[in-house]
Amino acid sequence: MNFLEELKKHLVSFWLPVPAVIALGVLSVYYFGITGTYWAVTGEFTRWGGHALEFAGVDISDWGYFKIMNMNGNIFTRIDGVMIIGMFGGVIAAAFWGNNVKWRMPASKIRIYQALIGGIIAGFGARLGMGCNLASLFTGIPQFTLHAWFFTFAMIAGVYLGVKVTQLPFFRSKVKLEKLSCSTPTKIDTDVDANKVKRFFTIGTFVFIGMIVWAIYLIISGHQKLGMAMLFGGAFGLIIAKAQICFTSAFRDIFTTGRSQMARAIVLGMLVSSIGIYSYIMIGVPPKIMWAGPNAIIGGALFGFGIVVAGACECGWMYRAVEGQIHFWIVGVGNVIGSTLLAFVWDDISGPLATSWPKINLLESFGNYGGLLMNYVLLALLFLVVLKLEKNYLKKLKGKTDNAK
């Protein structure tokens, strides 16, 4: 097999999720070192909500939350904005390369409401907690900010509640098991249209090359950080889509089917990225520290509940949306609505819930090595929690099976 065919095979097939999450952890460290910010998506979505309000004629100049978020510039001039363009480039390329693009309608009206309401709750919670599964978990915890730990443990509780609700009879899938006979026609197009697959692969390649050319143009025209942000965004997008990384599934599926693979992968990714971020902080890059107050706990719980109801978080809906899954367009719209709602009420609730609470940096509270050790102790604890929850599920399952016998 020649080189190009071998390469194509890798671009078409799915990638293994565990190494992919660890690669995301390593990449997010370099992204922080090079651009000075962490890999996050919801902050930029919130700015889009702000721009939409401005466009509709609303004066947001005195909204406290938008002052914190810094509305200067636009999606093409902000690091977060350009990174997200790169992410869309990566997920589009991955979806077309893998022949995963097709319009898919939600199975029922219930799912549409779930997507919208869950998306709004998740968007609201993420912004109250100052980040989603990225900035308040996967890339937040390695910043040594205590708020991310509050958020994460509260999120697991929220996820548990979300699972309980989405498994109520009203929400359960109505799909019936069909008994087949020889004459039952096959449901999907098993005869793959080779021309379409080829065309899609070319589209993916064009998008990918276009993004790289755009990034290089940014770099040589003097916007090095923006260009690098686009390249990193492209890599993040490509990896989450090719490996189908779903942060929502990580804790949810421990409670639904007893699978902890993704949760363990996320902890491993954070073990790797913590030491990398630590090194950058030691050479002077300032970490992102947020208020460790009730906002992180309430926001985390709401977010965890919302993502399970919706079926995806802010990162996961992106690649599913470009695959043509309408459900996740609705989740995305819900997220922007939810985060804008939070911005709307922020000035009334921020004092008691957030801004009057301290921003706690573990590296300042416990000393550099003490803080590093603290983060690793907490990560080990999180790993044990994951294993314990998985064990509880299996024990319960065994009980059920024994009773059935």
Partner: protein, 81 residues
């Protein structure tokens, strides 16, 4: 990830088109428990993310994955007890 074996002829089917996670995986496990040893279940999911849950859950719960077809946007899984 993908099996190179030929797709077996299924005796039962779960058509999960349009259903987001975790419903396809939950339904799969429920269906498998209701089947006989010789039955072969085909699950169709148009959410490619199911590639990271259905096969693992099926094996974790002591069932067998016979074949996975990822050549179309709807992924097809063939599993048995």
């Amino acid at each position: 990830m993908q099996n190179n074996t030929k797709a077996p002829t299924p005796t039962h089917r779960l058509d999960m088109h349009g259903e987001p996670c975790p419903y396809p995986a939950i339904k799969t496990l429920e269906a498998l428990r209701s089947l006989n040893d010789d039955d072969i279940l085909e699950i169709i999911s148009d959410c490619p993310q199911s590639i990271n849950n259905i096969p693992i859950d099926v094996r974790n719960h002591g069932f067998k994955v016979l074949h996975i077809d990822t050549s179309t946007p709807s992924v097809r899984y063939f599993v048995k007890r």
